[in-house]
Symmetry: C2
Subunit: 442 residues, 2 copies
Amino acid sequence: MFANRLLVIGGVAAGLSAASRARRLDPNLHITVLEKGPHISYSACGLPYYLAGQVREASDLVVHDVAFFREQRDIEVLTGHEAVEIEVGRRRVRAVVGETGQEKAFHFDRLIVATGAISDFRFQIADCRTAFNANTLGGAMALQAFLSQAKPRQAIVLGAGYIGLEMAEALRTRGLDVTVLERSAEILEGFDSEIAGRVEAGMTAQGVLLLKGSPALAVKDGEVISEAGRHPADVVVVATGLQPNVGLAEGAGITLGRTGAVAVDDRMQTNLPGVYAAGDCAESVHLVTGRPVWIPLGTTANKQGRVAGENAAGGNARFPGVVGTMVTKVFGLECARTGLSEAQASGYRAVSATIEHVTRAHYLGGQKIVVTLIAERGSGRLLGAQMAAAEGAAKRIDVLATALHARMTVEQISNLDLSYAPPVAPVWEAVLIAAQNLLKQL
Amino acid sequence: MFANRLLVIGGVAAGLSAASRARRLDPNLHITVLEKGPHISYSACGLPYYLAGQVREASDLVVHDVAFFREQRDIEVLTGHEAVEIEVGRRRVRAVVGETGQEKAFHFDRLIVATGAISDFRFQIADCRTAFNANTLGGAMALQAFLSQAKPRQAIVLGAGYIGLEMAEALRTRGLDVTVLERSAEILEGFDSEIAGRVEAGMTAQGVLLLKGSPALAVKDGEVISEAGRHPADVVVVATGLQPNVGLAEGAGITLGRTGAVAVDDRMQTNLPGVYAAGDCAESVHLVTGRPVWIPLGTTANKQGRVAGENAAGGNARFPGVVGTMVTKVFGLECARTGLSEAQASGYRAVSATIEHVTRAHYLGGQKIVVTLIAERGSGRLLGAQMAAAEGAAKRIDVLATALHARMTVEQISNLDLSYAPPVAPVWEAVLIAAQNLLKQL
């Protein structure tokens, strides 16, 4: 019936970026988006702020609704439609409609897989009335309702990655007693101990209990059982980590990479002709190492979606890759990283320098900022950077992200003409001082 | 008597950076700094905040005192010592000591000229009790005393560059009625009208009167006379602009560049052997145009001073140049620029795109930010950028400053992996959206 049918599986971030971009390139394409859940086009990164009460309504996190896509962009978005099989040979996707259990088939000429990521938690919580998986809008709304109605006092958060810490802070902000159980010996994966240690201090200062090396063994109503023992809990939030949601792709013969996510080229094309993948289910190239990585983040998802959508509509866009930029604001501290951490740089002849400086002129209330730069001995090339400060760390990391894209040396960084005015920066930026210090070791 | 005597003329920023760096390289050097004024090592950029009352004591702006340099760094800093002649052949500088008028000679093996910048105001205000030149700590302290004691109500600021605007805002903050007289038709030189217009709107909103195209013809106690007429004034602040203070250098046969500032190579060496120049009296290379420029700023002064000091002590440091990064916070708006403005890029086949976006997630109170990117048609190379926002513009410009250092194209910028978290950034950074828009025109 249609000359050119684009089907997109996934309607949170990458899938809708892809659909929107495809529409812009080709007004005649027939575009359908299948989303298994009830919600589309929302900011998953905003969920902790919704739970903390800083965002009044869940709907404030929603960017566009189904009607917007239908009326403004001529894109049909079907919620409650769970794709269950990609039939490659027949160029169609079978989906189950949530409410009725009815099955439908959607034919495609081009397909974009944007199935996202799912929790890596191995234990069943579906039957548990007091445990929540808060990385979807639906999950967060259920948790919100439970917090308001049951008024739990003791919360346990499973996982001390950035999402777990943001959730822990949100619950603490609401006045709950919060314990965080982390299976590994470290918190805030991807950050070195210099910064993770400061976050731990911030957690303690705000009365949050952290138990490291404590993998959860079971979650029940009223308690969590870990190797350390039984932990009473009025409410449990699961934030142990994510894994790419690739069952559907794998079942269709789409090749996965060594990271476990869908392998794609720089046009976001999979091994199957006309089938693209984008967002949290897909790999990227790490521009520092040149190797595929899986770093599920909203920024990357949107960029990949845009490229997949353009190419699926006959364009020729490329997504060169990422440098691993990530930022979180937890317990009063903006923590930012890009490139390789010291741990990740162990395969290089890496040297690092950590310095403390200020975010603004001291006489206008400058806050302490800690900066670590990591570089390769010999070449002097920057490999990575980390920062933390009560203010101004998040956007400062972008200078080093840009430097990584440009493969700059530490000496080049030490000469950067960065902005200065007393209310916003000190005359010597912390980055420049860190670069000067690191230069001495190179 | 001393094997190696380093003499530095100027003790505010570049001169002391140079002296400190030289000391670090050579513990045996005999280092003397001559400063004509009574104050050393202070933040001239902090003066408006001192006048606004945001910095309590003038001494808060002082980084180190003479005793610090003597005791901690073995550097002799002589205040009230005005260098009046560089006798190149005799390798000495003649200076007049302020209090006594006594003359002294200082021999040198290496000399660093860091005489800074002076006001370009052509009219005499020395005899005028109510007019102040507020770009030195002494001048600002005199103005501060006058404001406290005479309690003037009507202020006139001459000049609507960033210093004039910062001064106007400071006086307005203190409750004065403020009129700004600007000789040209534009305010905030170096910024294009998109941003300058927003600052004008901010001035109006805060009740500051701006008269453009109104060069002052005379300043008297009680009034300023401009082409537009007579303007009653209880207090006048002169902030018309700066020029390099090069009389001493010129008298010694030191070559000036076409900008009027001292010509230097990338080691900050002048045409005379063993004689360096650094800071607001010296040129830099603009890394976008490849041409010498004179952009007097504290960041550049400190970097140049560091390089001059290292080389004067026998090291081999280089200062590659600047990209014209500048930021000011005036009337509630952070205004930031780097590279060439649209006006400055007129010699290129320049195209630009201006977009509006937000500084953070809209649901966490993101503020409006305007971003202009300017690029060269054909090559696609970034030429410059400007931004303004109530928050977060200053440090965001550094991404584009870094991109200019790396000679990045707009396409490369559109793919930058920049940081995102709802409290600090939107998922699509304004810079990326601006780059996407500009790409369409390239």
